[in-house]
Subunit: 293 residues, 4 copies
């Protein structure tokens, strides 16, 4: 996802320096005017540093590791915009760590995947100092049409967790009604065509449609990752005293998906689990359908 | 809703004759060139008759009642496009009744409310003879940007039920995560602003936002009606052997809303029930928010 | 079950006349002093007629069919004690039908199976005229140690449905915790030995123990029958406005059991479904365990 | 509960020395031949030390605190039989701590409350070295008719958690069907009289009957404690990959009970929450009912 974000920044006219573990990946960006950094500390001279990796461990390594952003001298950017999907605890640790060096942190996880960014449909949810958000906004807008500010500290991480809980519930509900419609006689592509165009349709229901119709479960998000986010949501529910029955049941269904060994493909295999529970053997409809992107 | 549909047909250039129980309501349409029928049988001379009322009893009365469409002579339209939210059984009875007079039925329930039509965002889901659908399509398109054909017979009714089951689940899940986000410190308007712009946002989440933010629960759809559609969905699940745990739990939550007496306002009061279960006293945020229409 | 009931009546000293579709089955009872009726109308001379068959259709046939109890002349017993598991509607129809002949009906379904009766552990739940209950009580007591009176009309049928809803929930919960305990390292027989002797233990948990430990799923009650009773309970919940989330979810789990084809064996296969969802391959523990009877 | 346990040991003929924070409480036991210890270290000369307190903190204090069992010299009992309801982690820490002094630990939580012990109906579930269990068994039997051995280490704690998860589910299901039966016309005392005598009846359903019938919610176990045990069960479910939908939903219902402020009375107020969700105002039936003890 980082590549698409950087490409949009470069094309948007930002004065951009890029670093990637695999330098060759970054080099494609030079055609849009981006410079390539030889190492991470070279980025410390920038005003704003965007970070988009996989896990909190990766974030820690690129920021504070032995060869990381802060590993050489006292140079430091004004702020880090951290876009990975990490926990509240990781985010708070990062904030403390940056703060000790006088660097602001804008927590800025996203809704969408690489294809969504490319289609210009990403959205950011941001938390941290309001001034940092305002300063970063012109650059966020180069990447995505929408960036919401939700408050101080790590609140954006909390919102991302809520977003992913919703994503899990919506997918399971969609699996329930798609199988019901099919058993009643409606082809999946016809059913989802209507749902996608109805008031209930979303970018998400649209880009999951090819998977539901043609059973292409190439992984975009694994059942393990979805379970992790549902557990984070339920843990937050415990902490704040919020009962969440739909999240709870969805969590149990995702656990069942994992227990039955459907772990290597996309979490959209919830459709297959639902069909199986309904005595239905799914087959691809082999219909060309749009993903809306 | 009928008025907005007719207005769009008239403005779209259709040769339109209109009948309404309250003639005065129809008369506003004459400025767009519509004619007013003196009684329902006068519509029997039309090629296509659209019907949009409240319940199956109303449909039966306007079509086959003593003063209904078919009450005088042998004149009959080519087809009836029935857009009300009625049951599969009612729809099948209507089809038989029309078929005996050589009239085709296009079952064509909609996704959206009057405001959605006005905003040009309605969608139809249609079932019946494919040729009838093709013939009606130019007129459906005057009303709505989207009309999906899902198959023969009453399948469109089934799809509408699935749509409303999904609507119930989505609303309850949204209530769960909105209360969680608020208890964690995120204002509802900021939270929903992000959700609406995220890949999970839909026309529905957008037009429910004012209710969730400012606690305006003027009724658009009552808890009783939502319970009825959830029950229809669960009954279909029984008939077709499809377990639907999220629909089941949502049904029980809506029943709790009714049991606790929150029956006169919009079903969006699921938010209030959720807050109450979470020990949270909701207050309006008094923030101007868009409904996206 | 009828045989065991009759045997206990005969041994208890009742003046007993017996009829069974298969006369040979009834004849074993002559050694306890029972007489064999040549046909059903011969029982019309008795004071109290007990009826224990399978379905409401069977009940109707033996009472009011062409060769049934009431098929010859005006002779009629004082009362019928109807012990089969039939619906409220069937029970009400039977009451009307008997009432027209001046016969009282005591609705008297039971908790337990043939083995439970034999062990002297059956219980009746009765509804109808209180005087009829009082008159029947000495005979009920010959069969079972316990007979509860719950009110007029068909209330006993309602109570039996509640009993079976509870049975479904208890079995599913037992499946959940038995699999959890096993995965944590506790053999099923050791776990259930404790549960059975704990304050949570019941005759039911004890007599299901051999099935859970040694995976003997010879049918006592099919998944279809359990689903039927859960549906009756949920329908009553709809009628009386009672949300029942645990019953709803259990119903969906039983539907999944059926959807996955585990229909020919006992509903205790809920344990297998639970193990499967938990990534556990069950094997018989081959341990001799008591069923408590 | 400790008093009743000690009383049964003394009456059973054990050579008993007793210590209690409030010495006066212990003194009543001298009439059965028990000796009173001046302080905890005095118990270190005993062969077997039973411990029954409230929390893991209390256990740690009486065993390893500055004035605890092990605070003076090298004297040590052969084994500690620990009967409190503590976590797996606490139990493991205790085992390590005792092991370092050459003392065996028998983890021995119980099913039942003080009244159950007095009625001679307690049951132990034990884990630890099998030999320790065998040696303790004669004494366990003086206290309770039943003691089950489930394996090494802290397995008995796991089993106790499963037991309490089941207790939560059973109570919620009982609340659902009791309210349904009442709304259908069956008094609660009549309904529960049957249930208690049916194959589904347990010591637990019997001793909760007075609370359900006469709405006496004097606390025996708080909603907070039940929630804690349900959370421990669900956490174990996560660790071992066991989806537990009924436990999950029950957990959410108990959270709702807490969220709505019903926290100071017994968890049996789940009945009140269920009635409230069903639009029913409960009143005491003022009927004398047995608790079965």
């Amino acid at each position: 996802m980082g590549f698409e974000m950087a490409a949009r920044l470069a094309r948007g006219g930002a004065d951009l320096t890029v670093w990637n573990r695999t330098r060759a990946k970054a080099e494609t960006l030079t055609k849009y005017g981006a410079r390539i950094a030889d190492d991470l500390p070279a980025l410390a001279a920038c005003d704003i540093v965007f970070c988009m990796v996989s896990t909190w461990d990766d974030v820690r390594q690129v920021i504070a590791g032995p060869a990381g952003l802060l590993s050489v001298g006292a140079a430091a950017p004004r702020m880090v915009v951290e876009c990975s999907s990490i926990s509240l605890e990781g985010s708070a640790e990062l904030r403390a760590l940056l703060s000790a060096r006088g660097i602001e942190l804008l927590a800025a996880p996203v809704s969408g995947n690489a294809k969504v960014i490319k289609a210009g449909r990403l959205s950011f949810v941001c938390s941290g100092p309001r001034a940092a958000f305002e300063a970063a906004l012109p650059y966020l807008r180069m990447i995505a049409p929408s960036a919401s500010y939700v408050g101080e500290g790590e609140l954006a991480r909390m919102v991302k967790i809520c977003h992913n809980v919703f994503l899990g519930v919506v997918t399971q509900s969609l699996a329930e009604i798609t199988v019901l419609a099919q058993k009643a006689g409606v082809p999946r592509h016809a059913f989802l065509d209507f749902m996608n165009q109805s008031v209930m349709g979303s970018a998400f229901t649209r880009y999951k449609t090819p998977a539901f119709v043609n059973l292409d479960f190439k992984v975009t998000f694994t059942p393990y990752l979805l379970r992790k986010d549902l557990d984070l949501g339920l843990d937050a529910g415990r902490r704040y005293g919020v009962p969440m029955p739909l999240a709870s049941i969805t969590r149990d269904v995702v656990q069942t998906l994992i227990g039955r060994g459907m772990t290597d493909e996309d979490f959209a295999k919830l459709l297959v689990l639902q069909a199986d529970a309904s005595g239905l053997k799914l087959e691809s409809e082999n219909v060309e359908v749009s993903d809306g992107l």
